[in-house]
Amino acid sequence: MSDQVVAAGHEPYLQHHFAKPEQQADASKIGMWLFLVTEILLFGGLFVGFALMQSRHPLAFLEAHKQLDKTLGFINTLVLLTSSFTMVMAVHSVRHDRRRQAIAFLALTLVFAGAFLGVKYIEYAHKFHEGLLPGRFYSHPGDTVPGQFMFFSFYFMMTGLHGFHIIAGMVLIAWLIRRTARGDFSAQYYTPVDLVGLYWHLVDMIWIYLFPLLYLIR
């Protein structure tokens, strides 16, 4: 496909090195899925480390996890699941050229993501107050089993890395809102919405694994 066709301006989103829009969309999807694989492996290292350390110190992990607030964790799980739903609806809307509806759903997703971080802030503040901090900063009085600090090392590393991904997702969603409002997307071209959606679902999925792992030991 020569440049003249692109220059004709029917498909402004089509980059010059792709022949067809479908080819470009497929390539982007392959790229995103591969990136998600790397994300799973990144978290995988933490999961393996957690499993191994839990098997070494089962009692300490059991005792330590009682400090977590199951209710708040459960609420956050619901919040994230709902945000996944609104994300799906945003993709659905943009596919059917309902731009204002898409913006509304993206904004809702952003609100739920913010709510998740808000709840996380409450939880973190409580832990900080109790001295339930990672590694050498751990200073919780009245522990019955030694080694409980390690549970909180993992708690903060895992939820921290996850929280970082939530923030990254929020930035991306805000960017999508801006581009949707600008009219960049249509039923013909909505790849970025699709891909951020995939990413957002993965971030939710990781939380769905983190919640029982950290909050519901035994």
């Binding site: 390539a27 995988g44 933490l46 070494r56 590694g135 900063f137 080694g147």
Partner: protein, 552 residues
């Protein structure tokens, strides 16, 4: 087939083009903000050559110190830092990005008949990440240095002074640049092949890079999280790797080698990629066993994930695990052997010519075979217990990485240099340099096999007087190597200063990249190529034009 010497050479575009990728736009900004895979490849090339120089200087200092036992012009502490920097710079800054990111970025889209990689901006981002990570690593070197060895083993790495944290952060960032390159190449290979370029029509270079990219994507994130955990351990004492706190230092080794063993295949597979291109061209023969070579690349990618425990035979892992890892290590030698025999069969009864790329390819065959076979020796459980952490390991590793990957990189550099810059280098000096490098390499590292088998431990500052003759021999070899590389730097630099004189296809090769002009235009091809024959049809009796215009 040896009687068929006439080549189905592609029609040459007019030479040299007036406007090409090097001069279409000018100024530093046009380079820093380019998304052209060729310019990004050239910038990568310049960066990794600088890293190679840096790592090489460190290597020369190490060898110079080892000329004599006992105290020398550097202290033991400095020595520890220098060999760590040599390893870290060579591996993370030079070898891993060398062939894929520098040469691969340049030639892969050309080989596929594409205008660019799938994600040009991601490609540029990967270069910027590489620069950022390298910069952090350089800052770490001048502010305190690192004395852990390139493997960053805990608990020493979490307790030692110096800039380990900064270095680890740098390597973490470089890891992402490697991941982005991998993602880009896989998407490119899947979606941007020219019409007629079927999977079984792809050059074997592409197959090998595909296998490399898979490893980059699957292994590198594990290194990422391992380094993050190491950083957390240093900053917060989270406890995971520290036995004092109930952690497990061997877990670090498992994590580290889960990446770093596949990583040696990230380093060697691209080398094999180059060799598969060079040998048929200079043997004037169809590649022998195309599918076997393609499948063996994929097999290496798969099995590479199952052998990491052979680095840990003396770490205290279970005997059963060691035995299984030993067996799996033998297994990974099979696909490598398949490749070597196929290359030899390709050369058999070919009309071989000895231009510089071929000289390096033959060096690769010799040295990689020695490196691979000594790998089997080291993979043998009871033998490894004796040879572990001796110069035998050092020699094996350098035969595979330098004798293998670096030789292949040099083969590729000389092979594609005319394509990249539109200029031929001095063939005479290239041969002198290749001879010096081959002999110098063997003088340097064959002696280290002997040192190791006699019990000289690796990474030691001091040694018994009985080892001195071999150390002196090895250091002489390193000077020959340095001379060879200096000559290479000189004739390559000279070639850049003369007017463009390279034809589009100086070697009479059949790959699509040779149908583009030298240097290629920014969009690579005048028209989208239509592929009508395989990349290695050197034995085809009838001349076929390689390309026909399509998309008109």
């Amino acid at each position: 087939m040896a009687d068929v010497l006439e080549l189905p050479v592609a029609p040459n575009p007019p030479q040299p083009p007036r406007v090409h990728y090097l001069n279409q736009t000018r100024g530093i900004r046009s380079w820093l903000f380019t998304v052209d895979h060729k310019r990004i490849g050239v910038m990568y090339l310049a960066s990794i050559l600088f890293a190679f120089l840096l790592g090489g200087v460190f290597a020369m200092i190490v060898r110079l110190k080892l000329l004599t036992p006992g105290p020398s012009f550097i202290t033991a502490e400095t020595y520890n830092k220098i060999f760590t920097l040599h390893g870290a710079v060579m591996i993370f800054l030079f070898v891993i990005p060398s062939i894929p990111a520098a040469l691969g970025n340049f030639v892969l889209p050309l080989m596929l008949g594409a205008k660019d990689v799938a994600f040009p901006r991601l490609n540029l981002a990967s270069l910027y990440l590489y620069w950022t990570g390298s910069l952090l690593a350089l800052v770490a070197m001048v502010t305190g240095g690192i004395d852990t060895g390139w493997t960053f083993y805990t608990p020493y790495s979490t307790s030692t002074q110096g800039s380990v944290g900064l270095m680890v952060l740098g390597v973490f960032i470089i890891g992402f640049s490697s991941i982005f390159t991998g993602i880009n190449f896989i998407a490119t290979i899947h979606k941007l092949r020219a019409p007629g370029m079927t999977w079984w029509n792809m050059p074997l270079f592409v197959w090998s890079i595909y296998a490399t990219s898979i490893i980059q994507i699957v292994a590198t994130p594990v290194l990422g999280i391992t380094l993050l955990l190491l950083l957390m351990e240093r900053l917060f004492m989270v406890g995971i790797f520290d036995p004092k706190l109930g952690g497990d230092p061997v877990l670090f080794q498992h994590f580290f080698w889960f990446y770093s063993h596949p990583a040696v295949y990230i380093m060697i597979l691209p080398g094999m990629a180059v060799i598969s291109e060079v040998i048929p061209v200079f043997s004037r023969k169809t590649i022998f066993g195309y599918k076997a070579i393609a499948y063996s690349s994929m097999a290496i990618a798969l099995v590479s994930f199952l052998v990491w425990g052979h680095h840990m035979f003396v770490s205290g892992q279970s005997q059963v695990a060691s035995a299984v890892f030993s067996f799996l290590t033998f297994l990974v030698a099979i696909p490598s052997g398949v490749k070597v025999f196929n290359w030899l069969a390709t050369m058999y009864k070919g009309s071989i010519s000895f231009e510089a790329p071929m000289l390096y390819a033959i060096s690769f065959l010799v040295l990689f075979s020695i490196g691979g076979l000594t790998g089997i020796i080291l993979g043998t459980l009871p033998v490894d217990v004796h040879l572990h952490d001796t110069y035998f390991v050092v020699a094996h590793f350098h035969f595979v990485m330098m004798g293998g990957t670096v030789m292949a990189f040099l083969a590729g550099l000389h092979y594609w240099w005319p394509k990249m810059f539109g200029r031929m280098y001095s063939e005479k000096w290239a041969r002198v340099s290749a001879a010096l490098i081959f002999v110098g390499f063997n003088v340097t590292f064959l002696s280290q096999f002997v040192l190791g088998s006699k019990g000289m431990p690796r990474r030691y500052y001091n040694y018994l007087p009985q080892f001195q003759p071999l150390h002196v021999f090895s250091t002489f070899g390193s000077w020959m190597l340095a001379l060879g590389f200096l000559i290479m730097a000189a004739y390559l630099a000279v070639s850049l200063r003369k007017p463009m004189d390279a034809p589009a296809n100086p070697w009479g090769a059949l790959g699509l990249e040779w149908t583009a002009s030298s240097p290629p235009i920014t969009h690579n091809f005048e028209q989208v190529p239509l592929v009508t024959h395989g990349p290695y049809d050197y034995s085809a009796p009838v001349q076929q034009p390689a390309l026909q215009g399509a998309g008109r």
